[in-house]
């Protein structure tokens, strides 16, 4: 009977993010009297998309277990966006080249990150932090603060809607489904989950721990590169602080989405739930006419609240 209760608990946490998002949405449209319900949802999907993209990478990293977190995501986003925008210089014909460039920039940062972790034997937090300094500076120096317009094709693609649903959101839902499959059904994904639960046991079960960790840090950086690229298209060019809010956002959606910060357990639907919840919450508070301050306080309180509840659950399981 405990096992049934346990499996129920571990199967559910991502649901809460959706429940929360739904409640917040209802509260908002009740306040507006049903006005703009669809638009709000559509906007939430559009903006939530970016948190989900970086959230996927961050989630894979956090799943590797305690101490693993990628703090270089914002810098990588900015760097990739800036480099790609500058190289393709608003030219429609180079849209795919730009994508490739952004992804390569991400991959390079990921390789550098893991190189620091391994060669200097420093904790991932410090490695990704110090590399983010360098990457951010490179982005500033390379971009010179000029905001280059994205190619119209990219801008159109990132803002297009199908039946009122942002096209990009649909693509990222497919991406999330794919990454969910990767997590649960491939050797790589299973290895990540195994390392997160118990690295020693994973090593003794034949998992190539070093290689998997390397791949995961590269994956996170590549996704940050992707996010930087599409965000540049969405927001009319790459700006130097475009990544700033995504450090907190990437970690927040992972935590609120029900992924265990102790590692080894994660789920992708929760990322969507949490992203929508975070955006809708802000919308609701704005609708209620509350200030940015209250908004931030509530966001923070929710993150701390979720971790206090979730952390306790894993804690009792360990003992």
């Amino acid at each position: 009977m405990t096992q049934a209760a346990l499996s129920k608990l571990t199967a559910k946490p991502w649901l809460w993010a959706f429940v929360g998002a739904f409640c917040v949405w209802i509260a908002t449209i009740l306040f507006t009297g049903g006005q703009g319900a669809g638009e709000i949802l559509s906007a939430a999907l559009a903006f939530g998309t970016f948190s989900v993209i970086v959230g996927i990478g961050q989630m894979y990293v956090i799943t590797l277990g305690p101490g693993n977190v990628d703090l270089s995501i914002p810098a990588t986003m900015t760097f990739s966006g800036v480099v790609a925008m500058k190289v393709i210089d608003s030219s429609d014909s180079l849209v795919l080249v730009g994508l490739l460039i952004a992804l390569s920039c991400g991959a390079a940062v990921g390789v550098f990150n893991y190189g620091l972790i391994r060669l200097l034997r420093i904790p991932p937090i410090i490695a990704t932090l110090s590399s983010s300094f360098l990457v951010q500076s490179s982005a500033i120096a390379y971009g010179r603060g000029l905001k280059i317009k994205p190619p119209p094709l990219l801008a159109d693609f990132t803002t297009a809607k199908v039946l009122g649903i942002p096209l990009l959101a649909i693509c990222v839902m497919v991406l999330a489904a794919l990454m969910s499959l990767v997590l649960h059904r491939t050797v790589y994904g299973k290895s990540v989950l195994a390392i997160g639960q118990n690295p020693q046991a994973a090593m003794l079960a034949g998992v190539r721990v070093d290689f998997i960790r390397f791949a995961t840090y590269v994956l996170s950086a590549v996704l940050a590169g992707l996010c930087g690229y599409v965000l540049s298209g969405f927001s009319g060019g790459a700006s130097l602080n475009m990544g700033a809010e995504y450090l907190l956002a990437s970690i927040a959606v992972v935590v609120i989405g029900g992924t265990s910060v102790a590692g080894g357990y994660s789920n992708l639907p929760g990322l969507w739930g949490a992203s929508l919840f975070m955006f809708l919450l802000v919308t609701m508070l704005n609708t209620f006419g509350l200030s940015a301050g209250v908004r931030l306080i509530l966001t923070g309180a929710i993150i701390v609240g979720v971790i206090v509840l979730a952390g306790g659950r894993r804690g009792t399981m360990n003992t």
Binding site: V69, I122, I125, S131, S137, A292, G293, L296, I297, G311
Partner: protein, 315 residues
């Protein structure tokens, strides 16, 4: 004898002073005029708030945690400083005291529930930022006259920052490295189980260290407004990353309770100078944080080298 001078422990502890000397010499070489009262004052202008923030971070790192909210916290303190503290000093002081208590409580929560400090402090950074915006929605305010007077006080021979840095480094050094309870506090980072078996309270140690972090965070915010006179909520956000870098530069280890208050202050000053150094090199300020990152990586690489040579020849 020679072996003693090249012992890894000594090399490690000299590394922060060495980095600072190198960067200082480089600055003086490039710009001899910096070697004056006025020049030093300019160079070290923001060193003190960063040093306090670094010490705050160091307190948390001592007990094997990490504070990703210290920058936002310093910003909040600064906002309180230019509003309440100036208008109604008593209320302002009460708010700041409550902040320190809140930090201690955060440490207790993290310890009792065994939470990852990164996530909790990150969440708290939202809260501090929000509170700061509530207190001071738009940039502005006015620092209390006394704070400005202290921070801009002209001391003889060398600028006030240098005296103050030496003083706080020594005070914290005595508190953590020389005092009897300081040994216990650091022991919690080194081997918590053994400290607990010797009948010490771990939670009391955690609360103490977090409350100290809050206290230094308050000092950082107050000293900052003494220099800037005004404040805004985002004024110190970059202190989070700077403070971590400062602790590591100063010879602190990420886990295991190996920290150095003197090193941390030196590390903070080194980071402050790195920016000026670049401008003297006529390298664009774009590379300022990049240089801070590079210094961090170089120092970590040097330390990895020292550690590796140590592993090669066991004592």
């Amino acid at each position: 004898m020679i072996a003693q001078f090249t012992s890894p422990r000594l090399l490690r502890s000299l590394l922060p002073a060495f980095s600072l000397t190198v960067i200082l010499l480089a600055i003086f070489y490039l710009q001899p005029r910096a070697m004056s009262y006025f020049g030093l004052n300019l160079l070290l202008n923001l060193a003190l708030p960063i040093a306090f923030a670094t010490l705050a971070q160091m307190c948390v790192i001592t007990v094997n945690d990490l504070d990703l909210g210290i920058g936002a916290f310093v910003g909040f303190v600064a906002c309180v400083g230019v509003t309440w503290l100036n208008d109604q000093p008593l209320v302002g002081i009460l708010i700041l005291a409550a902040c320190i208590v809140a930090y201690g409580a955060m440490g207790a929560l993290i310890h009792v529930r065994n939470l990852p400090s990164i996530v909790v402090t990150l969440g708290m950074s939202f809260v501090w930022l929000g509170l700061a915006l509530l207190v001071l929605p738009t940039p502005g305010g006015k620092a209390p006259a006394i704070v400005t007077w202290v921070m801009k006080f002209k001391t003889p021979l060398v600028p006030m920052t240098i005296y103050a840095s030496i003083a706080i480094a020594l005070i914290v050094h005595v508190a953590l490295k020389r005092s009897a309870y300081g040994a216990v506090l650091r022991g919690v980072g080194g081997n918590p189980q053994s400290v607990e078996r010797a009948s010490w309270s771990l939670i009391r140690a955690k609360i103490t260290m977090y409350a100290m972090a809050g206290f230094f965070g308050v000092l950082s915010g107050i000293s900052l407004i003494g220099l800037t006179s005004a404040a805004d909520a985002n004024i110190a956000l970059r202190y989070t990353l700077l403070s971590i870098a400062g602790v590591i530069l100063g010879g602190g280890e990420f886990v295991g309770g190996r920290i150095s208050p003197i090193g941390a202050v030196l590390g903070a000053i080194t980071l402050t100078l790195a920016g000026s150094f670049l401008s003297f090199l006529r390298i664009s300020p774009d590379w300022q944080i990049g240089a801070q990152g590079a210094i961090l990586i170089i120092v970590l690489a040097l330390r990895a080298l020292i550690n590796r040579s140590e592993a090669r020849k066991p004592a």
